[in-house]
Symmetry: C2
Subunit: 340 residues, 2 copies
C-alpha cells in the first residue's frame, strides 16, 4: 500500500511530515511518497541521519506551497504545482492509495472535491473525526466542511458515518444519533426536525440504526457511535471538547504541582495518567477522514508533530484497507437522494 | 432581601429545595419564601429537625406542581396554582426580590415571560450561565431559551451579557465574542455573518468591547468574558462541556484507582484535586440567570442538591444586589432595536 503525503502542509512542515512519513514506513511497512520541494525534503531526510532515501520512501516534486493565508476557493487553480494539488492528482491517477495533509483545511476540501472528486451520488464531502470518549469513540460527521447543510446532506452523512463505523471502527450495527438540544423529535431548528424525519424513515426501512436525538453530553459519555450534525455545530462541538480537555488537563497539572505532597503523589499516579493523556492526544489519534471523496483523503491536525503524521498515515492505511469507499459505492442506490 | 423559591421544582424537590432554602437563609442572612404544598414543605422542615419555622423562612401555599412532562407552552395557564405560577406572581407583585426554580426549564421561561414579563424593549429573554474556565469564567448567552434567533436578538444578548459581566462579575470592560467556527468575519452561517456586522457597528460606536469571533476552545481557555450565540448552539456548547468534564473526571478516577501505587498517590493529590472538583461542581456554581426578564429569575439545575439550591440562592442575591436589571432599563435606548 502506498500513502501520499503533502510534505509541505502543516505548522511543522516539512520536518514533521518527512519524519512522520519515515516513521510510518518503518513501523507499518508502508510505501510513502513525500510530495513537495525535493531539495527541502532531501535536506530533512539528511538531517534525520539518513544518507540515502530510507526504505519505503519516495519523493515527488512540487515547487509551490499552499499557505494558511491562501484562499481555499482559488488556490487549487492558482497553485497547480503545489504539493497539495500534485499529491491529489497522484491520488486521482492511482499513483498512491490514500492522501494525507496537515495543511490548509479549506484548500484540502476544495482540492479533494475538484481533483479526485466526490463519489458519484454523494452531494457533499464531510470531515468526520473519531472523538475519544468513555466507550470506544464516536464519529462526528460533519465537523466543519459544510457550515450550512440541508436535511438531505445530513441523511447522507448518517449513511457515510454508519459505513465508516462498520468498516473502519468495527461496529456491527452502529448507533446513529442526531446532535440536538434535547431528546424529543420536536427539538432543534427546522434543520434538525426535518433531518429527524428523514432518519426516522430510514430507520423504519431498516436502513439505519437511528437511535434518535443525542445531546452534547452523550458524545463524550457514550451511547452513540455516529453523531450526525451540520459542519457549523460539529465544529463548535469539536473545538469545545478540545478546549474543555485542555482546560481540565491544565487545572489537573496545577492541582498536582500545588504542594510538595501533591507533587509526590503525582509521581505515583503518573503511570495511571499516561493512559488518559494518550487517549486525549491528537498525535495518537491521527487525523480526520474526509468522507464522500472517491479516494481516501485524511486531514491531519495543523500543528501535527512527526508522531501525529505517523498516526494519520496509520489511519489512512486502515481506511484504505477497510474498503469503505467501495462499500459506499456498492450501496449508493440506497444512499442516493431521490431528488437527484 | 427576600428570595422566592419554587419548593416543588427539581428532581429532589421538595427535600432539596427546602433544605437549600434553610441553608441559604442561615448562611447568607436572607429571607426565603418556600412556595408549594404547605403540608409537604412543613414535613420536610420537621424532618430536618426544626420544630418551628427556621429563622428567615416563610412558606406560601400553591396546590399544584409543574412536572417535567407538562407542556411549557400551556402549563402556566393550565396550572394557575402551581408553585411556579404562584412564585412568579409573587415576584411580579413585589412579594420578593428574586425567584429561583429547579423545575421544568421551558415552563419557567414561558412563565417568566408571561408573568413578571420582559424588560420593555428586550425582544427575547436568554439563559446565560457562567462557565468556569481557565480565567474567572465566561458568560454564555443564550444557552437554550431560543433555539432559533435573529441577528437582532444576538445583538441584544451581547448587550445584556456585557451588563451582567460588568455588574455581577465585576469586569470593567467585558470582552464580548461571537461564537463561530473560525476567527474570520466571513465564517459561520448567515446568522453569524449578520450578527458580526451588528456587533462590529456597536464596537465602532464605542458601545461594546466586541473582540470578534471566538471558537469553542476559547470559551474554556479564556480570552473572552461574554460569549454570544443562539440557544441551539449554546446548548450544544454547554452540554458538550458537561459531557467532556464528566468523561475526563471518570477517566481520571479510573487512572487513580488503577493500582495500589496510583491509589496511594491519589491520597496525596486529593487536596489538590478538591479545588478542581469544586470548580466544576454545579452545586458550587449555582444556577443560570434568565436575562431580559424585568425581575431576577434564576434556573437551578434539575438535579440540584440542597447545596446547589443554596448556591443558586446566593447567585440570586448577587444579581439582585448588583442592580443589573435597573442598569439595563436605564440604558434601554442604547440596546433597543431600531426596527422597534
Amino acid at each position: 500500500m502506498k500513502i501520499i503525503i503533502d510534505a509541505m502542509g502543516g505548522d511543522h512542515a516539512p520536518q514533521a511530515t518527512v519524519e512522520g512519513g519515515i516513521m510510518a514506513a518503518q513501523e507499518f511497512g508502508l510505501d510513502v511518497v513525500l510530495v513537495g520541494r525535493v531539495a527541502e525534503i532531501l535536506s530533512c531526510i539528511e538531517q534525520l541521519g539518513h544518507g540515502d532515501l530510507p526504505k519505503g520512501i519516495a519523493v515527488a516534486d512540487a515547487t509551490e506551497v499552499v499557505t494558511m493565508d491562501d484562499d481555499p476557493a482559488n488556490v487549487i487553480r492558482e497553485k497547480k504545482d503545489s504539493s497539495l494539488s500534485v499529491g491529489l492528482r497522484m491520488l486521482r491517477d492511482g499513483e498512491g492509495d490514500a492522501f494525507v495533509s496537515a495543511g490548509n483545511t479549506g484548500a484540502l476540501l476544495a482540492g479533494a472535491t475538484l481533483i479526485p472528486k466526490r463519489i458519484k451520488g454523494i452531494r457533499r464531502a464531510a470531515l468526520a473525526p473519531v472523538i475519544p470518549n468513555r466507550e470506544t469513540g464516536a464519529l462526528v460527521i460533519d465537523c466543519g466542511a459544510n457550515a450550512e447543510c440541508t436535511p438531505e446532506y445530513l441523511l447522507q452523512f448518517a449513511y457515510m458515518g454508519a459505513y465508516y463505523a462498520k468498516n473502519v471502527m468495527g461496529q456491527s450495527n452502529p448507533r446513529v444519533g442526531l446532535l440536538n438540544n434535547g431528546s424529543e423529535p420536536s427539538k432543534g431548528t427546522e434543520l434538525q426536525r426535518e433531518t429527524y424525519a428523514l432518519l426516522e424513515t430510514a430507520r423504519e426501512a431498516g436502513k439505519l440504526n437511528f437511535i434518535g436525538n443525542v445531546e452534547g453530553r452523550e458524545v463524550m459519555l457514550g451511547g452513540v457511535d455516529v453523531v450526525v450534525t451540520d459542519g457549523f455545530t460539529g465544529n463548535i462541538l469539536l473545538k469545545t471538547i478540545e478546549g474543555t480537555a485542555m482546560c481540565l488537563m491544565g487545572e489537573l497539572k496545577d492541582a498536582l504541582t500545588k504542594s510538595t505532597k501533591t507533587k509526590l503523589g503525582a509521581l505515583l499516579v503518573k503511570s495511571g495518567l499516561r493512559g488518559l493523556k494518550k487517549k486525549l492526544d491528537h498525535a495518537e489519534i491521527g487525523g480526520t477522514v474526509l468522507l464522500g471523496i472517491s479516494k481516501p483523503v485524511i486531514k491531519a491536525h495543523g500543528n501535527s508533530t512527526a508522531y501525529a503524521i505517523r498516526s494519520a498515515i496509520r489511519q489512512a492505511r486502515d481506511i484504505t484497507a477497510s474498503g469503505i469507499i467501495q462499500d459506499i459505492r456498492d450501496n449508493i442506490d440506497e444512499i442516493k437522494l431521490e431528488k437527484e
